[in-house]
């Protein structure tokens, strides 16, 4: 489909639902039904089966006409992780139920994967799910759960067969966060905020209809989610100098008195890195819709984390005495993560999480070494023995 065709479809949507006189949610629902929510997704699922990059044309046309957006920063886990996983592994009923309100932002999602004993080694989760009739009863503790306080649903990995091999005993669920057995407790972060939480699950009841994929297929489904997370965190689809490089470039331009030759060379190197990372993301976005993210896409996330950390450090150094100040240490439970809405100190500290969340850079480098380059795997003493007999 050409850009003109897409613009035409956008114009039709705008004519039928003029943003000025249409309720925000009504507009977003109509956009979804018109297939203009994410044109890279299939027809009937808010998309048109095109490539991800085609969305740029639609978004530009809608934004120019003052149409509302779906506030993607408030539901990044839903949009970037839950949605592609549901589309690939969910039943048609599950997709029908969950996808529209996920896209419009009416229902926010979080990710109940990590546990105290299962971080990098996600397959080690010990949260249990046992079947009682046609309902799963879930018990365990999750940790580092971003945005759990705002979420209506979670994607959850739990152990359904402790006597199976580590990766084989896992199953993937949608967990309703309003179940009385879900207890969300904030964890304060180095930025001062509590963006993530501990989540205690006590006899949480999940109907079997909320299982995603087969019993025992949880690892495969979770891996698909993580691959999508890494692509989502790695970003893309943005114009030159957007994101962190834009913020730091702006700081450089507006503080001529702070410029120093050493920092200038570092800035220019990072500018190139950021621009090439953007072009690499574009390449991913131009892929046909049927190509799913794989281990090679981890490169984008490793690079993104490095650039974000180096840029934010550069900004703090650039600002000198002013970089020694902080905007606000108040403990808050934010609705979204915004790098640009806060000060340089916040950006630096929050970016430290970029190489940890969604798979640490070390783990992703292992993945590239083993899955892309085919190098021999690290020795794994926990391989090939039932999970409940392994040394944890």
């Amino acid at each position: 489909m050409s850009a003109a065709d897409l613009e035409h479809l956008a114009a039709r949507l705008l004519a039928a639902h003029p943003p000025a006189s249409t309720d925000r949610l009504d507009f977003l629902r109509a956009q979804y039904d018109a297939g203009l929510a994410w044109v890279g997704k299939p027809v009937g699922r808010g998309g048109l089966g095109l490539t991800v990059s085609d969305q740029v044309v639609v978004d530009a046309a809608l934004r120019a006409a003052g149409a509302p957006d779906n506030d993607p920063a408030a539901n990044s886990i839903g949009l970037g992780m839950a949605a592609p996983t549901l589309l690939r592994y969910g039943t048609p009923d599950q997709v029908d139920r969950f996808l529209p309100p996920l896209w419009t932002g009416e229902e926010i999602w979080c990710q109940l994967f990590s546990e105290p004993g299962a971080g990098s080694d996600l397959a080690n989760v010990s949260t249990s799910a046992t079947l009682d009739g046609d309902t799963w009863v879930v018990n365990g503790q999750k940790v580092w759960t971003s945005g759990a306080q705002n979420a209506r649903f979670a994607i959850l990995v739990a152990r359904t067969d402790p006597s199976a091999f580590k990766h084989a005993g896992l199953t993937y669920f949608v967990c309703p966060m309003d179940d009385p057995g879900v207890d969300v407790r904030p964890l304060r972060q180095i930025t001062g905020e509590a963006e993530f939480n501990e989540v205690f699950l006590t006899d949480v009841r999940i109907p079997d209809s909320l299982r995603i994929g087969a019993v025992g297929q949880g690892w495969e489904v979770a891996t698909a989610t993580l691959n999508n997370e890494r692509v989502a965190i790695g970003g893309g689809g943005a114009p030159r100098e957007s994101g962190m490089i834009g913020v730091v470039a702006q700081a450089w331009r507006s503080h001529p008195e702070r410029r120093r030759p050493v920092l200038h060379d570092r800035l220019m190197r990072l500018w190139i890195d950021a621009e090439v990372a953007r072009l690499a993301a574009e390449r991913v976005r131009r892929r046909p819709a049927h190509v799913t993210p794989g281990p090679g896409d981890s490169a984008a996330k490793v690079t993104f984390a490095r650039i974000a950390q180096q840029l934010t450090a550069l900004e703090v150094e650039l600002l000198g005495d002013d970089g020694m100040r902080y905007d606000d240490w108040t403990m808050r439970r934010p609705e979204r993560v915004s790098f640009t809405g806060r000060g340089p100190g916040y950006r630096y500290l929050r970016a430290k999480g970029n190489s940890i969340e969604g798979g640490t850079s070390e783990v992703l480098l292992n993945l590239i070494a083993e899955r892309v380059l085919g190098l021999p795997a690290e020795h794994r003493p926990d391989k090939g023995i039932p999970w409940n007999e392994s040394a944890r």
Binding site: S114, G119, D121, R188, I190, G192, F196, D321, I356, P381
Partner: protein, 357 residues
């Protein structure tokens, strides 16, 4: 003879380090640092223990002026322990920097927790006083000053176009002290404003310039020592963590990807400690070694803190674990008392390696 003296000095410095370390473990354990409300009280307790209990008040002030006549190396020993504990203290800004500076310009004391009113980023040799004394009065402001307490404020000023050192009490009429929300909560900064404040000028010209430069250089040496302590804590905390934490059925420390980084960091911290110690003990080569140490230790400390956060994983991103305090202090102190490249530039002049162009 020489050898014996060195050995006695080393034994004394080890004893001092242990005394300070034990005091800090008692008064300012890492767990007490994350409660930011109590930091001011904590700072007072730490400094009271250093000054009165251990008896380090006036450490670097000559005996003839009522001080202890101690060596900068003693101060560096103390600073290393303060860095290791990430303890809030005015030791570097008062005992090392402003107190002896006052003694240098002939002030009779008492020195209390004196504070040199300059931005915390000021490098030795690059101080340009912006406050001007007109008819004995000063008006103006200085942002991001470290070490402001209730002790006297030491002001770099100009009088008739000449650099001078002046003093005023922190509660004098016209003095405004506005606390800053600081990135390093353990060394809070203050914005100082002066509105027609009557000051006493203590020295002018060469004497003032030399005292200011020497003071900033002493502080840079002590800060380098502090950064070594900070880096050591980060390294040992990380090593302890990877010795205990298992993932994939293995201790994290068994993964060579981490092992090599920690070994590299150990080499860096070891080099940094050599640099800091040399700068603190030299009697003939202070300027060169001070800038070499400040450049190296600043970068090693930040690297150590960043590696610590990364290898702790999610725990390193929490407020509850003290690692973030070390990260924040390391980041701020990268630019404190001069950026690494300001020190390299200063060094370049001293060792005659001029830049291009």
């Amino acid at each position: 003879m020489e050898r014996e003296r060195t050995m006695t000095a080393t034994a004394e410095s080890t004893a001092l380090a242990e005394t300070v370390r034990r005091m800090l473990e008692r008064v300012a354990p890492a767990t007490s640092l994350v409660h930011e409300d109590g930091l001011d009280a904590l700072l007072r307790r730490v400094d009271a223990a250093l000054d009165d209990e251990i008896g380090l008040a006036g450490l670097l002030v000559p005996e003839s002026q009522g001080g202890l006549g101690g060596e900068l190396s003693d101060a560096a020993t103390v600073a290393t322990e303060l860095g290791r504990a990430c303890a809030p203290s005015r030791f570097v800004t008062a005992t090392v920097l402003a107190g002896p500076l006052l003694a240098d310009v002939g002030h009779a004391g008492p020195f209390g927790a004196a504070c040199l009113v300059v931005p915390w980023g000021t490098a030795p040799g690059e101080l340009l006083p912006r406050l001007v004394v007109v008819d004995g009065l000063v008006s103006g402001s200085v942002r991001s000053v470290a070490g402001v307490g209730d002790g006297p404020l030491v002001l770099p000023v100009t009088v008739d176009g000449e650099t001078a050192v002046a003093i005023v009490s922190a509660d004098a009429p016209g003095v405004g002290l506005a606390p800053v929300t600081s990135l390093d909560t353990t060394r809070p900064l203050t914005d100082v404003t002066l509105d027609g404040v009557a000051v006493q000028v203590l020295a002018t010209g060469r004497r003032a310039v030399d005292a200011l430069d020497a003071g900033l250089e002493r502080a840079a040496v002590a800060l380098a020592a502090e950064q070594v302590g900070l880096a050591s804590w980060c390294l040992s905390t990380t090593v302890d963590h990877v010795q205990q934490r298992r993932q994939f059925g293995r201790l994290l420390g068994s993964f060579q990807a981490l092992k090599h980084r920690l070994a590299t960091l150990w080499i860096e911290v070891d080099s940094a400690s050599v640099a800091a110690e040399a700068a603190a003990t030299t009697t003939s080569d202070r300027a060169v070694l001070a800038s070499a140490a400040q450049s190296m230790c600043s970068e090693v400390a930040l690297h150590a803190a960043e590696e610590c956060i990364q290898m702790l994983g999610g725990i390193g991103m929490t407020w509850e674990h003290p690692a973030h305090l070390y990260l924040k202090r390391a980041l701020v102190d990268l630019n404190a008392l001069g950026t690494p490249e300001q020190h390299r530039r200063r060094l370049a002049t001293l060792v005659d390696l001029p830049p291009a162009g």
